[in-house]
Symmetry: C2
Subunit: 343 residues, 2 copies
Amino acid sequence: MSGFVLRVRKSLSATLILVIAVFGLAGAHAQSDPLPSWNDGPAKLAIFAFVKDTTDKSSSKYIEPADRIATFDQDGTLWTEHPIYAQAAFALARVGEMAPQHPEWKQKEPFKSVLARDNAAMAKFSEADWLQIVAVTHAGMSTEAFQKIVKDWLATAKAPRFDRPYTDLIYQPMLEVMKYLRTNGFRTYIVTGGGQEFVRVYSEKVYGVPPEQVVGSSIATTYDNKSGKPVLMREPKVFFIDDGPGKAVGINLFIGKRPQAAFGNSGGDAQMLEWTQAGDGARLMMLVLHDDAKREYAYGPASGLPDTHVGTFSDALLLEATKNSWVVISMKNDWKRVFSFDP
Amino acid sequence: MSGFVLRVRKSLSATLILVIAVFGLAGAHAQSDPLPSWNDGPAKLAIFAFVKDTTDKSSSKYIEPADRIATFDQDGTLWTEHPIYAQAAFALARVGEMAPQHPEWKQKEPFKSVLARDNAAMAKFSEADWLQIVAVTHAGMSTEAFQKIVKDWLATAKAPRFDRPYTDLIYQPMLEVMKYLRTNGFRTYIVTGGGQEFVRVYSEKVYGVPPEQVVGSSIATTYDNKSGKPVLMREPKVFFIDDGPGKAVGINLFIGKRPQAAFGNSGGDAQMLEWTQAGDGARLMMLVLHDDAKREYAYGPASGLPDTHVGTFSDALLLEATKNSWVVISMKNDWKRVFSFDP
């Protein structure tokens, strides 16, 4: 890993080096540390330098509070995405709950493999297979009914390995960054490939991010007022995919302003970081590298970590990060704690 | 018009009558009047009663500031939409500017009629005709290039009849309502059938509404980073129509919260008002009726006004308004001034 750390350190900008020189690591601790779960190091300093640059009125990089925007990918950036995305676990659980009303599923793929808990078959599901599963589990009900189903599932479901609710598996250091940015006048948006309506169920409670600041993928909805009590019905039809280039599209569509800071962890976040960096003034682009098998999971394949095909951080992404001075966060080295329940 | 006014007065809710009884019209004037361009009457009182109900902590209808949302249609609700929508005027002007590069347009409809300024033919344009015009005038460039074209056009274009910039034709009483609601902790959103990117060019300057609070219709955009400087290219393909039932869909998609107040002026706003009213607690639904040919325009056809097919306020909409206690704003009777330049 030393080669990797060296590359990260080399990517420190001149600004950052100046901050270290002038303020030293101690400077950040003069008042109570807003990022107590972060080890002192380049990642933590990059965050401090960015906030100082953008909020100090005497800085040429000062940004008016109304324009301070930071965007965060969710899966793998704010919470655990392994062994499968929480929303995929939700969909599979729903198939199980709905199976008694669908006896034909026992003979019909992809449902047959889900009901047989055939992990090997599920690992090979195509996009078309997943779309079938999403269609039956995420559509055919009102938005309100869907939100209730998600809420009920979150209240009882347990994540593998940790045997805790999924919403316990939020990264404590990232919560601190979100809070620190908000304290400094930034609005924190979630920009996720996951379902917008799904994430909105818990985003305010878990992240302090209100529904209007959740940008995500969505299916089409249809207005229905036949009963005199209007509802929005969820249709089995993709409306918007907020992933990869779609994240830049989604940011423009939903926010209409360019973020100054963006946080991701995989190839699906590259365009969000590129779009963020293309603006003027101070910019902060960060990527979480999952290199901590002990406290969470280790996967890449960048830096020789295993490729597990969920939240892939490729060598190409690492090269782009290095070339563009994006800061790579090593979970293992940069985070004192991963979860709030860690010692 | 007396029959119409009677119907409006009959639609006053019990709360409103109570407010009149307890506070009287003078109550609203105890401090400086936040709605000086409004005549005293049921519309003005409905606004005061709503704000009092939702912001008084001792009220059972109190709403937390973070949840205070008000949505406003634009064309015909916040600014003049006659004789044609400003954005349609923009598109037609663009056809003229682009014509030298498109000699074939002289023989090709719908461009031929536009270039010949054949108003009779243009009045009969189908949706397909308008889509062709939008495709050539609104697509094929980056979002930034489009915004610049709109900005430049707004700086020089003059609205018919008034011979003033389009952005002068904002209704002063509605600006006062937006400001009054914001002063009381509401976030004011524009929810328009017009183009989201078009409106965002001037919404902050003109209405005090930032880009992230503009929900509108949009065409598809595509991320392009071939040059190393990423752009979003506007494609000649409809992505979302924020009109009629689409306004309820758009509110859920972009805001994810139900507004407590909604303002419109035509059939395209009915579902927004229905969706707003379907929530619990205090609700305010208002419709602007253009019954003032002297100061602006008069069209309906509700209340016997002429039907001009732009921003139609039908008898069916008036019936729905009456049935649901939506408050109809008479431009003629409720507004002291229409525009800031009125005496």
